[in-house]
Amino acid sequence: MDFFELTNDPLDINSVARRVVPPECGATVTLDGYVRKFTKGRETQHLFYEAYVPMALKEMQKLIQQAKRDFEISNIGIVHRLGMLEIGETSVIISVAAPHRRAAFAACEWLIRELKRTVPIWKKEVYADGEVWIEGEQAGSTPA
């Protein structure tokens, strides 16, 4: 089955990866995105994620629908953590199950790229001497 969720609880990568697996699949590719300690040389103490929850869920669902049209894959699971995260904690998991691995790798890469461009979630980096809301590289709304 497919799923898309936002949660304030710590993420368990194995349980997410296993939930997407149907019998016809031969490979699951799972991205484990976690909190970096250094960004552009500056030391982060922790991160805070905030979402526009109802719209974020809709955009995650759209990504799943689009990926299933464009890649030969079976199931997708996306879970994004919200709230305060310590260094090294998982912020996002994307699991893609497919009959063959190539499509799963390609779809997983596409999904994280699009999630970072379209899903309304923001991160604040907290440093020893201040904090900054990170703004995405591109003003990337969903194309019409």
């Binding site: 526009y52 109802p54 003003a139």
Partner: protein, 85 residues
């Protein structure tokens, strides 16, 4: 732009835009024929510091382009380019 002849929408801010506005939600009154772009302009007039950000906005939880016609009680969200992941 009176409440009688105009329309009233709900505005949401997140992250950096919530800090600029000093609030996470407000109501905004606009002319009856206002578009999403008009609403954004009105918000930038009220909070000029918004203009220094790359803004995205949505209407009823779908990305907006600016030409969408607003209805009473629509939900407009104004936020910076997203940074999840």
């Amino acid at each position: 732009m009176s409440g009688e002849t105009g329309l009233k929408i709900r505005v949401l801010f997140f992250g950096a835009t919530a800090e600029v506005a000093g609030t996470r939600a407000m109501e905004l009154e606009l002319a009856a024929d206002a578009s999403t772009g008009d609403a954004l302009e009105s918000l930038i007039d009220r909070y000029p510091a918004l203009a220094s950000h790359k803004l995205l906005y949505s209407i009823n939880q779908t990305y907006a382009k600016g030409d969408e016609r607003l209805k009473d009680e629509d939900e407009l969200a104004v936020f910076t380019a997203v940074s999840g992941g």
